[in-house]
Assembly symmetry: C2
């Protein structure tokens, strides 16, 4: 696994899963649908991953966690891979994603504000009704 110069030589699927926190089966799924590249194999047909796979999978997972669809993630990866066409194309694609990201941030901030107001106004007493809970109802 180590070539003695501090570089990881090869990772098995379970190791890639552990390093990224990705589900073992999802790695194969991403390969099947073309999100992850098919890695080289050992003589006995075992997949062998390296740092580039770790970085790519982490990127995919963060994008998914942030609510991008797999198709949107594919676009982001095309950007990463320089497969998004000409520079103006790249700019336009990135700009659309920036706007989507900003909208998500704004929404999350609204939710965060309402939640923290609720919590801070909570007395912490053993009262079943917080009297501030209905603040959440107007959370928009």
């Amino acid at each position: 696994m180590n070539d003695g110069r501090g570089k990881v030589r090869g990772l098995r699927r379970s190791e890639l899963a552990r390093l990224t926190g990705c589900n073992l089966e999802t790695i194969r799924y991403y390969e099947n649908i073309g999100i992850m590249p098919p890695p080289p194999r050992t003589a006995r047909n075992y997949r062998v991953y390296d740092e580039s796979h770790v970085a790519r999978l982490r990127f995919v997972m963060r994008a998914r966690d942030l609510g991008f669809t797999l198709e949107e993630t594919r676009d982001l990866l095309d950007l990463v891979d320089g497969r998004a066409g000409t520079c103006p194309d790249v700019q336009a694609l990135a700009q659309r994603h920036i706007e989507a990201v900003r909208a998500k941030i704004a929404d999350l901030r609204r939710i965060e504000r309402v939640l923290s107001e609720t919590v801070s106004r909570c007395t912490g007493d053993e009262v079943p009704d917080c009297a501030v809970i209905d603040a959440l109802q107007q959370a928009d």
Copy 2:
């Protein structure tokens, strides 16, 4: 639909869908799984909604849009409904969600920064390789 005092009397499912932007079928789905309460029915078995359903459904949709799972959304609704137990319980639940939201915001900001740096450094020329695209690779 209107009692003459500015209050909506009853909404059909399609009207609830239009007011909230929710898919028509999803409303029934949410009722089936207990996210939305079963509304009263007309003599002919048509569902009748009111403003409380509008507010609740909007809340659910925003929570889902912000990446909360249906189960988490259920927790938030319990909070709203005062069904989450004592006030300290409510605080703890809300606090966990606040932390999840803040983590998401931090992730999104990182993504946003990298994307806008990419775009701003783009020349806009018809060059297939932007020379900044690999910045995205380190987007973590």
